[in-house]
């Protein structure tokens, strides 16, 4: 416990110091408050508009979670299918790796053209950005099973399903989670961008409105909320990892 406190204290102190310096700077420098609001101004703006912010935040969180779940589900499913059908894997895996270098987010405007402004194109955008890291990390993990242990299980009579559930999948879990952590951050980012492109609700939508109104204070509020949502989704994944990944992986 004391150890964990010791790890958390320095970064917290750093954040508090930066905020304090920011506050002092805005007060002393006489910079235009509408351009660079002080932390206190930002908090005040958030409190004043809390009802509308809450509504937009809920919409974004909902979109993020639906997209993240769908993206992770697709990624895991595709990885497992490719893993158990080696021919498919040989054909598709290189393409998956290459496609990781393509900014899939660039497809978002096209999806809006095709599917309109509803929730579906937004979910697809998030699925697209989450899918690749999860699929590639899972496939990687599944293929890194220790051959001696595989032989042991097979000689002990394990069938294909047992080999997967008792050895390959648990062995791949640390790798799966590194994919999930990337996907967690990407999913929030995908949600905000798809809301920018066309939506009647969500923090992304709120940002667009505040941009037209030149409300820097409200922009800062939305940025803070986006950061918080990201940290929460990431934190949930990290917590799940601590619960599910036990012992020590043989290789890291």
């Amino acid at each position: 416990m004391a150890d964990r406190a010791r790890r958390w204290v320095p970064p917290l102190v750093a954040v508090v110091l930066v905020l304090a310096a920011w506050q002092v700077f805005t007060v002393l420098s006489g910079v235009d408050r509408w351009l660079l609001p002080s932390p206190a101004d930002i908090v005040a703006a958030g409190v004043a508009d809390h009802a509308s912010l809450a509504r937009h935040t809920v919409a974004t969180v909902r979109l993020t979670l639906i997209g993240f779940t769908a993206g992770v589900g697709t990624g895991l499913l595709v990885a497992v299918v490719l893993h158990v059908v080696p021919v498919l894997r040989a054909a598709v895996y290189p393409l998956l790796v290459v496609s990781q270098n393509i900014p899939t987010i660039a497809l978002a405007p096209l999806l809006v053209v095709w599917l309109g402004f509803g929730i579906l194109p937004k979910i697809i955008v998030i699925v697209l950005v989450c899918f690749f890291p999860v699929a590639v990390a899972t496939l990687d993990g599944l293929s890194r099973t220790d051959p001696v242990t595989t032989n042991y299980l097979r000689m002990s009579g394990a069938d294909r399903r047992q080999l997967f559930t008792k050895l390959e999948f648990p062995n791949a879990l640390p790798s799966v989670f590194s994919g999930l952590k990337i996907a967690a951050t990407y999913s929030v980012f995908g949600a905000i961008i798809s809301e920018w492109l066309g939506s009647d609700q969500g923090i992304g939508r709120y940002m667009i409105i505040q941009k037209s109104a030149f409300r820097a204070d409200r922009m800062f509020v939305s940025i803070a909320i986006v950061v918080l949502i990201s940290l929460l989704v990431f934190g949930a994944v990290a917590l799940l990892e601590r619960i599910l990944v036990r012992g020590r992986p043989k290789r890291t």
Partner: protein, 255 residues
């Protein structure tokens, strides 16, 4: 044949592409017998186990377990691989019931059995520990228990003690013999250590360098239980010298 052997291998051969690994190996393990295979490293001993375990199909020859054809059939033996190969995310107890779990045995009974055997292996306090917190010798014992608990008559032990230092190895020999004398399973034991083979077994098969053939079959005459001092007796020293000589000569031919 009234009482079939626990395990019989007849004229087995195996090549990987152009690499001839096993040329012609026949051997027999009677019920409750402790049999060792001695041979140089890289000589095809582990490959022979993979064949007996049904992981590989031999190019030629037969494998018979308890009187039944076992070529290519998996799940008929208890196996301890050359490395402990414990699952790092499972506790020691969950690891040693793995083979029973695969066979579909009820969980409760397996766990009770596991607890009892962990105590016998000096691992009482470690049921809920993860393998990486165990020493090398403890991991080997856990791996052995996993094979023992599989409940198969035939146990295949692949160089279980080769990674241990001499003192620890002597302790493990004592431990293994105690357990074996108590419940007399049929053991086929691989080693490249002649003294270890003579100390533990009733029959020793000396194999050639790759491709493996049986160079000689040696009956070990010493009664059991065998004391630690056995290694200094003239008859033991004579046998050890003879087997070492056989292996050396074969190595010279191979070069």
């Amino acid at each position: 044949m009234a009482d079939p052997s626990a395990l019989e291998i007849g004229g087995v051969a195996k090549s990987f592409g152009s690499l001839h690994v096993v040329e012609d190996v026949s051997l027999r393990v009677g019920k409750g017998e402790f049999v060792s295979i001695v041979g140089p490293s890289g000589g095809g001993k582990s490959t022979l186990f993979h064949i007996v375990g049904g992981l590989l199909t031999p190019d030629r020859g037969t494998v018979t377990i308890d009187g039944h054809d076992a070529v290519g059939r998996r799940g008929l033996i208890g196996y301890m691989p050359q490395q402990p190969a414990l699952l790092p995310w499972r506790t020691v107890e969950d690891n040693i019931v793995l083979a029973r779990e695969i066979a579909g045995e009820p969980r409760r009974a397996s766990r009770e059995l596991a607890r009892r055997w962990l105590a016998r292996a000096g691992l009482d306090g470690f049921a809920d520990a993860y393998p990486h917190t165990l020493s090398g010798g403890m991991q080997q014992r856990a791996s052995f228990l996993r094979a023992l608990l599989s409940d198969h008559e035939v146990l295949l032990l692949d160089e279980p003690f080769s990674a241990l230092d001499a003192i620890l190895r002597t302790d493990m020999h004592r431990w293994l013999l105690d357990i074996w004398e108590e419940n007399r399973r049929s053991i086929l034991f691989i080693t490249h250590n002649v003294e270890e083979a003579l100390l533990l077994s009733s029959t020793v098969y000396v194999l050639t360098a790759r491709p493996a053939r049986v160079l000689e079959r040696v009956e070990v005459p010493f009664p059991r239980p065998r004391p630690d001092e056995l290694v200094d007796e003239p008859e033991f020293v004579r046998l050890r010298r003879r087997l070492t000589h056989l292996l050396k000569n074969d190595a010279r031919h191979a070069i």
